[in-house]
Point group: C2
Chain length 201, copies 2
């Protein structure tokens, strides 16, 4: 097969894969784990079930790849965001982070985590996924905050912010928590600024 023929096929294959990953996250977030079968995701993506199974041998493979891919996309957006300099920068960063944890990606991950907690071998696969995405989110937040975890206390300070963001995501699952959340993001951004000035206190 010539290069000219192969390249468009690879593009199509990549686009199909991407549609499946996006559809998997959206479906998990909307209807939960039990209702998100491979057939449902394939239909949502406008892809045949056979094509879906060609890309992802198991449902767990599809879900893990979907959460990992969308995490990369969301973290890349945060890294590329136009952030204000000086005061307001930390709050802008924390807001962007918390937006991720209150969007479909977090809801999808939550359904997956809870399903995995009572279902082997999904649990083992999701534990590995959780480690990877946790490390990437931690690294991205260190980078955009422009702090180093070689400074004592910074690592734990930043990890606590990620945990707070997770908690805010959970609090937004059943009802719109945005008003309460805004106040917390503002206050914790101030606290974070102070804490990062003297992290080893």
């Amino acid at each position: 097969m010539s290069e000219a023929v192969r390249a468009p096929q690879q593009d199509r294959s990549r686009a199909t894969r991407q549609r499946l990953l996006e559809a998997a996250v959206d479906s998990l977030a909307d209807v939960g784990y039990a209702a998100t079968t491979v057939a449902v995701v394939a239909a949502r993506a406008g892809v045949s079930r056979g094509a879906a199974q060609h890309h992802f041998p198991t449902r767990a493979d599809l879900f893990a790849a979907a959460v990992e891919y969308m995490t990369e996309v969301r973290l890349a957006e945060i890294r590329a965001a136009q952030l204000p300099a000086g005061p307001g920068r930390t709050e802008a960063i924390v807001s962007l982070l918390v937006d991720v944890y209150t969007g479909p990606l977090f809801k999808a991950a939550l359904h997956l985590w809870v399903a995995a907690s009572t279902e082997e071998p999904l649990r083992a696969q999701i534990v590995r996924l959780e480690e990877r995405v946790g490390r990437r989110a931690h690294r991205a937040l260190l980078d955009v905050l422009d702090v180093s975890e070689r400074t004592p206390g910074v690592r734990e300070t930043v990890q606590g912010v990620l945990d707070m963001a997770r908690g805010l995501g959970l609090a937004d699952l059943l009802s719109d928590d945005s008003a309460r959340r805004r106040g917390i993001v503002r206050q914790w951004s101030r606290i974070l600024d102070q804490a990062l000035l003297a992290p080893g206190v």
Copy 2:
């Protein structure tokens, strides 16, 4: 019926109810929402299914009452705890709080919240429950920290700590996160002490 006969019956009824509530939380935490039927809870509590249905007309009633009851028990324990005075007090409080969010009660609530997110009318019932238990936890934490939310910033500072605890609970769902958690609790207790000294900063 004489008082002498009625009182022991009321005691037995209260004990039965309590065993059902504890069994419901333990079952939700262990096997999740779908597998926690009223029959499973009744068997776990050593109570007949009929008796369980006498106490709780629906499965949602049982689960909501169970999470509310166990929240009261756990918060009462925190309020009654012997806490060190001076340095170390805040860390002791945050540790106790985080212990609740990494125990069976939080896991049970998490299964219930996630199930409710795709299931009406459970959702509406759990939204009301979430508001009540959220308010009680917030009030208990203000009280044991001995701070007032009339001071600007205190409300949001303390709410953020509850959200961080929720996030730490989620991070402990699939694997033992205690080592990472210890460092975060220590660091954020220091930060919280500073923040509560100058909450409006």
